[in-house]
Each structure stands twice: as structure tokens, then as C-alpha cells.
């Protein structure tokens, strides 16, 4: 019987392993072939030119800025919502707000994309700003749900301890309860980050998708994910390989984000390496 569980557990590790092998196995030789600097730092993406040029720096920058924008917008709102839901919300209001948040999590990204086209694009064009706002909204449920869970897991005695010293509600929550939930909240933010950087469909619908260095928030931008999806349908040969290499680059970014978690949460304690390894295994599995 234990064997069954073991095999089930292995399945996800196996899947991750396969993804690793496929992406890195075909991506890294391509990057070498194009030239690491040409690929990662090149600013010109012209796959049909003769000779073609495969510089993905604009897409890397695009993904980073759009993700960063989503975090700037989504994280404060998400954490404040979670604090409200977990610690301040009257139960009658909660019964109304909580399903709202859950619903937000279940909306398919193409629907978000439509919403962005209808509500954001008229205001901000197809631009980095539109994409950031839309992604900021899309990562809300992830951040809210996970942060709320970890806030609720903080023992009530901590809150009472602060209140008993004469601290007011919000000072107790932000000064004591939130720090106690820190690692869970950081994990929530990281998962949100991962969702934002990996999001594809909604971004394509509002970001403009021009494969060039963006120069302002209201300019169009193409992310790594968009690059892959937009061109995979007709790409072949080295072009196709370059798109897979884009995927490998994205994968490495996500690994880096996951690896950074233990460094942030437990900045200065002893067995950092051990935890880093443990986290790496966990990170790879998500």
C-alpha cells in the first residue's frame, strides 16, 4: 500500500524532472548556438529576417516590469484585504466578501483579458500599465487567500497581548500579528509573483505585444510568455528552438523566485543551505 503513495508522490517529481529535461535540454544548446549574449542581451527580435535575430531582452524586461507592476498594485491591496478579512471584518460582511474573493480565483484568464480590453485598454491603451493593473487584480485571490490563512493561524494570544498593552486594533495587527504571519505572507506574495510572470492569455490581450524595448508605462510590451504563444503556431527550425529557449529562461526565472524565499524569510540564520535545498525541492514541485 505504501508503494502506491510513493508512486503517486513520485509522479509530480517525475513531471517536474521531465519539464526540466525538456526545457533545459533543448533550450540551453539553442542559447549556446545563438550566443548567450546575443540571446539574453540582444534587443532585436526578428525571427524572419535574413539572417534572423533572436534577442529576448525586451521580453525579459517586459516580463519583469509587468510582474513588478502587478506586485506593486496587487500586494498592498491583497495584504490589506487579507488583514481585513482575517482580523477586522464583521462576520456578516465576511460571508459576502469571502465568496467574492473565491470567485475571483475561479475566473478563467481569457475572461480577465476581455475585462482588460473593455475596461483598461480604453483608458491606458494596450500597454504595460494595462497589463500590470490586470495582473495585479489576477494575483489578488492568491495573495488574499494564502495571507488570510496564515494570519488566521497566528495564535489569538499575540493579538490579545498587544491589545492588553494598550495598542489599538490596527497597531496590534500590523505590529504583531502580521509579523507573526510573515513567512506565510511572503510565500503568498511569491506565489502571486509566479502567477503574474507566468500569465499569458490575459497579458496578450492587453499588453500590445510589440517585441521591442518598452520606453514608458503607456507603451506596448511583449512578455516572454506572450512571445512563445504568439509565434509557436508557425515557428520552425531555429525560430522554434529560440521560443523553447525563451520558455527555459522563464522557467529559470521562476526557479530563482522560489529559491529566494528562504533567503528573504530567514535571512540570517545558520542552516540556510539546508533550507534552501528543501525549498528548492518544494519549489520545483509546484
Amino acid at each position: 500500500m505504501r508503494g502506491v503513495f510513493f508512486v503517486a508522490a513520485l509522479a509530480s517529481v517525475f513531471a517536474v524532472g521531465m519539464i526540466c529535461v525538456f526545457l533545459l535540454g533543448s533550450g540551453i544548446p539553442t542559447i549556446k548556438e545563438i550566443g548567450v549574449a546575443n540571446f539574453l542581451l540582444g534587443t532585436d527580435w526578428s525571427p524572419s529576417n535574413v539572417p534572423p535575430s533572436f534577442g529576448i531582452l525586451p521580453m525579459i524586461v517586459g516580463s519583469i516590469i509587468v510582474t513588478f507592476g502587478a506586485v506593486v498594485i496587487g500586494v498592498p491591496i491583497g495584504i490589506l484585504s487579507a488583514v481585513y478579512l482575517a482580523n477586522s471584518c464583521p462576520s456578516r460582511l465576511y460571508r459576502f466578501l469571502k465568496p467574492g474573493v473565491d470567485l475571483l480565483a475561479g475566473i478563467p484568464s481569457v475572461v480577465y483579458g476581455f475585462f482588460g480590453m473593455a475596461a483598461l485598454v480604453p483608458l491606458f491603451d494596450s500597454s504595460m500599465l494595462s497589463a500590470s493593473i490586470l495582473l495585479g487584480i489576477m494575483i489578488l485571490p492568491t495573495i488574499i487567500t494564502l495571507s488570510e490563512t496564515s494570519l488566521r493561524a497566528v495564535p489569538g494570544e499575540l493579538y490579545e497581548g498587544a491589545v492588553a498593552l494598550g495598542a489599538r486594533h490596527y497597531r496590534s495587527v500590523f505590529g504583531v500579528v502580521l509579523p507573526a504571519a510573515k513567512s506565510g505572507v511572503i510565500a503568498a506574495v511569491v506565489l502571486g509573483l509566479g502567477r503574474a510572470i507566468g500569465e499569458t492569455m490575459a497579458v496578450i490581450m492587453v499588453a500590445g505585444n510589440q517585441p521591442r524595448m518598452p520606453e514608458g508605462l503607456l507603451e506596448g510590451v511583449r512578455t516572454m510568455t506572450a512571445n512563445i504563444v504568439l509565434e509557436m503556431g508557425y515557428a520552425s527550425g531555429i525560430h522554434r528552438q529560440a521560443l523553447i529557449a525563451t520558455g527555459a529562461t522563464l522557467f529559470i526565472f521562476i526557479l530563482l523566485i522560489d529559491l529566494s524565499v528562504p533567503l528573504i524569510t530567514r535571512g540570517h540564520s545558520g542552516s540556510r543551505l539546508l533550507r534552501l535545498l528543501g525549498r528548492a525541492r518544494k519549489g520545483a514541485a509546484t
Binding site: 494570544e157 498587544a162 491589545v163 498593552l165 494598550g166
Partner: protein, 267 residues
């Protein structure tokens, strides 16, 4: 003058009548022990004295609770009340921050900003809580790294740091080993010269050992209040006599009792 003076206090948790017509007086710089069987309302009563029951949904309080002649339930600013009436909980609850920041949390809350002043307050409070020598070299370490007994004394220091007039302690030693308990009992005996203290305890020896006055609670009523020695040796009410005789003749049970208390009630 009476430090606390409670009259006709009734408290309901929803339908449940948890405190029934309590009359209670306490003098300035006296230690009063609250004793009584589990579930009789000791914690509930203690928490009416700094209005912690305000946090409980569905909790209603009637009657008057006066702190130095001021009705605490009509005070406009309940955080000022809680600054004046400090509280230490059954389970040590250090904040997830350094030893120093734990003690400095209260003073900072009430507007102390100068580093120098904070350092002074922190040292004095830790000394008063008899833990300075043990932590003076690790003020920057997380408070969670201290032992349970040290954590509890840290919590006492944290409460003292806002210079309260009264200190409320809810079974502060029930989660601790005998050695830490002895340390805290000694500490409380020293505190009596500077603070007015109310302490809930299940341990009769502890009550007899450290308190000036004792109040006996039963099923939500305050049965008897008086000089500790008097109450233990010549209880006026037979219910008190019965409770004390059982507890004193079975001290093991008396010590073991708090362990069974569900955390929910421990407040």
C-alpha cells in the same frame, strides 16, 4: 483608597450568565489572589478589569467597575485603561521580535521614541521582572529563543514597561516548571511593594504564599473575599471551607488541575 472597586457586576456570554452580582474591593499595592474551580469565572472576572472582554463577541457587562474612583466602562479611551492595567497571560505570549523590541513595544505604542529612554525603560523593566541578568547579552535575539519560564518573565517585564498601576495575572505559572514557578512567585512578592496585583491561581500554596487578600469564586459568584490567612484558616462560608480542604489535602490534584483546562478558557 480602593484601587479597584466593583459593584453589582454581571456578565453574560450570550445567554450564559458567567458572572453573577459580583462585589469586589481591592486596596492600593495589595496582592489579591482569585481562586476557585475550573470554569467558575476567574479569568472572565479578571478580564473585566481591563476590558479585555470587549473583544469577545456577544459579551455583555453590567454594573460598575471603578479604578481609583473612575468608572472604567465609561472611559472614552480603552487603550489608556489597558496601559494603566497591565495583563500577563497563562501561556507566555512573546511577540515574534527581539527581546528588546518585546519590552519596548508598549512604551513605543504610547509614544516613547528616544532610543536612550527606551533602553532605560527596557533595562529597568527587565530588572524588575528578575530576568535582566539572563538576557542582558541577548537583547537582540528573538524572544522565542528563551525558555518558557524566561518567556513568561519577559512578558511580565513587557507589561511593567508601560508603568501600569495594576497588574493582572491569569495563572502565570501554570504552564511552567517548578523552578520557573518559584522564580516568578519570588518576583511577585517583590512586586507587591510597587504595584497592585490581581492573580488567578489554581495553586493554594501559591495563593497562600504570595497574596494579601484572596477571593473565592464558585459558579460565577464571588463567595468570599478576605485576608488570605483568615480565609484559609477560618473561612466564613462552608463552600469555601470545603473547596480549600479538598485542595489543600490533595495538593497534587491542585497542581495538576490547570493542565486540563482547554486553551479556549485559559484566556
Amino acid at each position: 483608597m480602593n484601587c479597584f472597586s466593583v459593584k453589582n457586576l454581571n456578565l453574560h456570554y450570550g445567554e450564559m450568565h458567567a458572572l453573577i452580582d459580583i462585589h469586589f474591593d481591592m486596596k492600593y499595592r495589595e496582592i489579591t489572589a482569585l481562586i476557585g474551580p475550573s470554569g467558575c469565572g476567574k479569568s472572565t472576572f479578571l478580564r473585566t478589569l481591563n476590558r479585555m472582554n470587549d473583544l469577545v463577541e456577544g459579551c455583555r457587562v453590567e454594573g460598575s467597575v471603578r479604578l481609583f474612583d473612575e468608572d472604567i466602562y465609561t472611559m472614552p479611551d480603552v487603550s489608556m485603561l489597558r496601559k494603566r492595567v497591565g495583563m500577563v497571560f497563562q501561556k507566555p505570549n512573546p511577540f515574534p521580535m527581539s527581546v528588546f523590541d518585546n519590552v519596548a513595544y508598549g512604551p513605543r505604542t504610547h509614544g516613547v521614541r528616544s532610543r536612550q529612554e527606551l533602553e532605560m525603560i527596557v533595562e529597568k523593566s527587565l530588572r524588575d521582572a528578575a530576568i535582566w541578568d539572563e538576557v542582558k547579552d541577548r537583547l537582540k535575539k528573538p524572544a522565542m529563543s528563551l525558555s518558557g519560564g524566561q518567556q513568561q518573565r519577559l512578558c511580565i517585564a513587557r507589561a511593567l514597561a508601560v508603568s501600569p498601576e495594576v497588574l493582572l495575572l491569569d495563572e502565570p505559572t501554570s504552564a511552567l516548571d517548578p523552578l520557573s514557578t518559584a522564580k516568578i512567585e519570588e518576583l511577585l512578592r517583590e512586586l507587591r511593594s510597587k504595584y497592585s496585583v490581581v492573580i488567578v491561581t489554581h495553586n493554594m500554596q501559591q495563593a497562600a504564599h504570595i497574596s494579601d487578600k484572596t477571593a473565592f469564586f464558585l459558579l460565577g459568584e464571588l463567595v468570599e473575599q478576605g485576608d488570605t490567612k483568615e480565609l484559609f484558616e477560618n473561612p466564613r462560608d462552608e463552600r469555601t471551607a470545603e473547596y480549600i480542604s479538598v485542595k489543600v489535602s490533595a495538593p497534587q490534584a491542585a497542581c495538576a488541575a490547570p493542565v486540563d483546562i482547554p486553551a479556549r478558557l485559559a484566556g
